[in-house]
Amino acid sequence: MGDIISLGLLETLEALEKKEFSKEELNKAYINRLCDLNLKLNAVLAINYESNGIPAIVKDVFSTKKIETTTGSKILEGYKPVYDASVVERLREQGVSVLGKANCDEFAMGSSGENSAYGPTKNPWNVSKVPGGSSSGSAAATAADMCVFSLGTDTGGSIRQPAALSGVVGLKPSYGRVSRYGVIPLGSSLDCPGPITKIVADARKVLEWISGEDGYDSNVSNKFIITSNKLNDLKGIRIGVPKEYFGKGLDKGVEGEVRKAIAKLEELGAGVVEVTLPHTEYAVAAYYIIMSSEASSNLARFDGIRFGHERDKFGDEATRRILLGTYSLSSGYYDDYYQKAAKVRTLIKLDFEKAFEKCDVIVGPTSPTVAWNIGEKADDPLAMYLSDAYTVPASLAGIPGLSVPCGFVNGLPVGLQVIGKYMDEETILNIGEVYEEATNWRKEKPKL
């Protein structure tokens, strides 16, 4: 029974069906594992010892009825929502239970987990390193087999990047595929709730469960394709490789692993073509202006009157972004900052549309580096922002992105990013699955 916790979602569902173990045994195994490791990893905040379904861990930005939801901030310490987020409801309907709330950067603002007001989460592969962020706890918990799967949110890379740094699968769905109702927002036009899982097929399953209109989020559409067409190889698939994702700033070791992965895709039948995304260099700047502006407004409701604590409890990064966002929206600056950034955003979107005339998906590194030491970039917010360079463009364009493990550098995981057309999660999941099954990265687990 020691293997229960290493099973993925589909494997667990199958095992339960075959009565290889009971739900009680399942939850007991995971609760034990969680309690064993959490002091060391600090991946989980609130723990639900009464979990009795398929145990999942959801990022602490998801409203969970009666379970403390802090968004990694002191502002919401002790806050227990009166309602479930739509995606949480959907999961419950499928027999999933919330085993715990994952630690995260405060209000999802961060790329390492170090901005959490409850202490940073550690990378299970090396506990002196960051697991990535802002869905730090979700990625670490999944990598450490503390749950069957987890949910995160991706605004500028916050599912894909921690998945890459922690050696698990992370899917950022298309914006508007999954309801944001009940997800405490960072950037309203950017936030995408999505799965962090042990294998690609699990991500596909969770996506199926959580996709679609719910009558509460006006931006959600049902116009997507779900099929269960498994591909055997990648014949006929055209892979675009953007030259802008292989320039300055990319670690040599990471580049090596990613290029090997692309070669593997070719081996599996895909055609590779070079593409260009000319406005990539402006993406981080445009993103930080738009996201901060939206966040400065979204965080205005935390006035301490109806719920939560007083505003002096905001951490440094949250304060920084509220100031930046308020400034960008101010009279006299709106045109030069917010509006300009919005125009750049359109150009970036058009970059992708043009590139997709030549290819079906775009492939490259998820993160420019592997996991860094805790504390290393904490004093340099700009350096921290640049770690989002390859994930932010897809966020601005609203298109889906998958990160799948593709190797190691010095024992630390590397992620391959597969970016798809709007609402075409199908294709990126197919490619991810074929690649995963043709390699053995999935079998590697951190030594804990």
Binding site: I184, Y216, S218, S293, S297, A300, R301, I305, L329, S331
Partner: protein
């Protein structure tokens, strides 16, 4: 006085939709137990999202069309950001750069064409109560749909403002989009008042460089008094050489004067930006809504006059009594005389609650012979005079209108069988002699 007023009006109208602007809570908030019509959305709880009420959009469009506005095919919501305890999200979802309706007008009986700048939709705030040292907040009203109407500063006289406001109130009632009851806060008026020196007509028109906003006025009468007072106050100050600046003032009905209110308005930068949680409001086929709209009073009146040859005055009364449909049903019978019918209804000579057939019957009787003999009529008249001392006294003192009442009494006593004109004649004779 060598100054002339420059006045603009800003109106907020509470729509009578079933549910709130962005959530499914009941919009019927007045007098309800506090905080019983709430949900995560209108409480501004973390993670909640707005979802647009279609009925509210349609009612806003109807209001705009009634004011001859152009309807935007692609308008959108924006966030108006500011802190106040009754604003749970810390921003109000409203419209700014692209309102649903803009650039309209309406005509008064006398005066300039009133140009309408915009008619847009937004959500209402909660309500604060200050019992003693505490402040309490009731969120029942938070999120209720409001339509905001802004006129250009084209009013030249207080009477024009009052006429416009009253006409507007009737319009939204006729449209069925609001009860527009000022006491309940369903119709809120704000007047922007300035004065300018009366110029040579050949000089270029100069808009004053300031305006005084008059707020929190909850009756037409108070608004009139406030504007009149303000015009005078401003003229006097300007004559003294005082420079006037943008200010918000309220009306004190007891002291009969305006007084300064909170100053924060001008300093405020609302940092408007398009609401990312909502889609663009795509309106195709605004004409389909025009077809849905009930005919407005003015239009109805002219139609009645043209069709039946009755006077406009009588048509208005018919309308205000809610008897237009009834009248038109009666008139389906071509043998009925329109003028007799309308008179019978509005003067209540025949009970308008009768069925159409019964009414037509009574009309024929009244026209033709009477079922009451002259002696019986005299007895009836004398009886009425005897039992209505006060009324008779009033009539003799000169109150002519009492005659109608006495005629009515005679009709009642004779169970409607007497002829109205004969009853009146007989009464007059007896009253003169008696």
């Amino acid at each position: 006085m060598n100054y002339t007023p420059v006045i603009g009006l800003e109106i907020h109208v509470v729509l009578n939709t079933k549910t709130k602007m962005f959530c499914g809570c009941s919009a019927d908030y007045f007098g309800k137990k506090p905080n019983t019509h709430t949900c995560p959305v209108c409480l501004g709880l973390p993670g909640a999202l707005p979802f647009t009420n279609r009925e509210a959009l349609e009612k806003c469009i109807m209001t705009g069309l009634a004011l001859n506005c152009k309807v935007s095919e692609n308008s959108y919501f924006e966030r108006k950001n500011y802190f106040y305890p009754d604003l749970p999200k810390g921003y109000q979802i409203s419209q700014y750069r692209k309102p649903i309706c803009a650039d309209g007008y309406t005509n008064l009986t006398d005066g300039p064409k009133i140009r309408i700048n915009r008619v847009h939709i937004e959500e209402d705030t909660g309500k604060l109560f200050h019992p003693g040292a505490e402040t309490l907040i009731d969120f029942n009203r938070s999120g209720v749909p409001l339509v905001e109407i802004v006129t250009e500063p084209v009013f030249e006289d207080v009477s024009q403002v009052v006429e416009f406001a009253k006409k507007f109130q009737q319009t939204v009632r006729d449209l069925g989009v609001s009860n527009a009851d000022m006491e309940k806060g369903e119709l809120r008026l704000e007047a922007n008042v300035s004065v300018r020196k009366i110029q040579n007509p050949n000089d270029k028109f100069q808009i004053p460089d300031y305006r005084i906003e008059l707020k929190n006025i909850n009756s037409f009468r108070f608004m009139q008094h406030a504007i009149e007072y303000e015009i005078k106050r401003q003229a006097e100050l300007l004559d003294q050489g005082v420079a006037l600046h943008k200010e918000t003032r309220g009306w004190d009905e007891d002291k009969k004067e305006t007084y300064p209110q909170r100053q924060k308005e001008e300093a405020h930068d609302y940092r408007y930006f398009p609401e990312p949680d909502l889609q663009v409001i795509g309106i195709r086929d605004g004409d389909r809504i025009r077809v849905k709209m009930p005919k407005l009073s003015g239009q109805k009146i002219s139609d009645l006059v043209e069709k039946y040859g009755i006077s406009a005055g009588n048509a208005w009364i018919l309308e205000s009594q809610g008897k237009v449909d009834y009248f038109e049903e009666i008139m389906l019978d071509r043998s009925v005389d329109a003028i007799e019918a309308v008179n019978a209804i509005i003067n209540k000579r025949i009970n308008a609650e009768l069925t159409v057939e019964e009414f037509k019957g009574k009309l024929k009787e009244a026209k033709g012979g009477s079922k009451v003999s002259d002696e019986d009529l005299e007895v009836a008249v004398l009886s009425v005079i005897k039992h209505n001392e006060k009324a008779v006294g009033d009539y003799k003192k000169g109150k002519e209108s009492v005659l109608q009442f006495l005629v009515g009494q005679v009709m009642r006593v004779t169970k409607g069988a007497a002829r109205v004109d004969k009853a009146q004649q007989t009464l007059l004779v007896k009253l003169k002699n008696g």
